[in-house]
Symmetry: D2
Amino acid sequence: MTFNKPYLIRLAHCDATGMVFLPNYFYIFNALVEDWFYEGLEVRYDEYLMQGHLALSTVKLETVFSAPSKMGETVDFWLTVTHLGRTSVRFTMGVDHEGSARVRMQRIAVLTSQVENRPVPWPDELREKINEFMLG
Amino acid sequence: MTFNKPYLIRLAHCDATGMVFLPNYFYIFNALVEDWFYEGLEVRYDEYLMQGHLALSTVKLETVFSAPSKMGETVDFWLTVTHLGRTSVRFTMGVDHEGSARVRMQRIAVLTSQVENRPVPWPDELREKINEFMLG
Amino acid sequence: MTFNKPYLIRLAHCDATGMVFLPNYFYIFNALVEDWFYEGLEVRYDEYLMQGHLALSTVKLETVFSAPSKMGETVDFWLTVTHLGRTSVRFTMGVDHEGSARVRMQRIAVLTSQVENRPVPWPDELREKINEFMLG
Amino acid sequence: MTFNKPYLIRLAHCDATGMVFLPNYFYIFNALVEDWFYEGLEVRYDEYLMQGHLALSTVKLETVFSAPSKMGETVDFWLTVTHLGRTSVRFTMGVDHEGSARVRMQRIAVLTSQVENRPVPWPDELREKINEFMLG
């Protein structure tokens, strides 16, 4: 299953070229993961971070940018899970517009305890929910 | 008429205290004005800026912060117009949560031409639409 | 005494008009307060926040923007203290370029305990150091 | 030759975990490239973008995060060139702290004309200057 969400490209996302300033894509990708928790997994991201003292720490990112996005466009962000390890997860994420690819990202993240500062296994309930977004 | 819109307080908005990092409020207030153009005035903000070579330049801001907002809350942003001059507009804007005030802002902005770099009068069509959001 | 610091206006600060995107000024003003702690007061801002569990919470901001700043300019930010209360401080801050004013800000902030979530009196040592930046 | 620059990790860079919020690293990496232009290549980045109508468009990023950075640390950012093509450049960039690696990044970018919206060859003068930062 894929989690899809459209985002408006705002003035705040663009630099003096009128196109998305690259670091701002990573903000929207973080909003996508946040919205996937709230709306896809139906898990409160704030409680998971603040009360659960957990973090989803990115360890590797590979990103290919094939076409720019400009202010006023509403573009399609999406996320799917391609691997779920004992403490890790691998996402494929993308940005599309009218069916053509703008950005492709591979992202490996690890569930970590903010208290112990080390990887921890996925809780069973979260693992089951994430599994539903596993590709294929 | 008041333009209202809820926004989720995201991880990206908060600093190490877990509360909204103050400059990030101004980002959301800019998103509010942008959304007011698209959804309230039904004017494309991107065309107004990029093709129309106009800008809504803030000249004065007064902001009072009475209570902090924290990650995971969905808070109510709103905007109303309290004065509409020949080239200027005065907004009252706010952030509320469960009926109590978090932020109050007075904002005076001037319509400026990016080409001539000086204030220009509101086009009649835009003036009429903005008038609908005049308080009282 | 006035605390002065030049900052380069970066691509990241500017929007599609090529001028500073207004919320980004507030980022730089926060960097100015941070640098004032480290370099002016010679107090570690990170320890004050993270180990001291204190915060400098802004309660009121008044800002006047008189001329825009553009990418590539190095502009002069400055800060002076105009009132020091039992738990509060009032700053006058500004942005100048080649001697003419770009931005003027009045900012009232309160020292708060992150643990008790209420205003706390300035520690004597900090009060003495802040007093050196009192105007006049 | 390697271009090195220390950056202070600010409150604004950190999220509610007290560590750098990942997208903010990309802001600092962009500041690094900007500072490399001004200070390393001694080319005005603003003129290159705004008067020259050129852009340095990233097409691929690979980033490995091995340890977090926290507020108040001053960390070492660096950049070296590993390939210089007709219209492209490949950078290796990093963040170190006290000699140990925090972040490693491979970045491929293409010089593009903002007018024609396509890759353009490096001007000879810029090519020569970039060549000085070629590894080995």
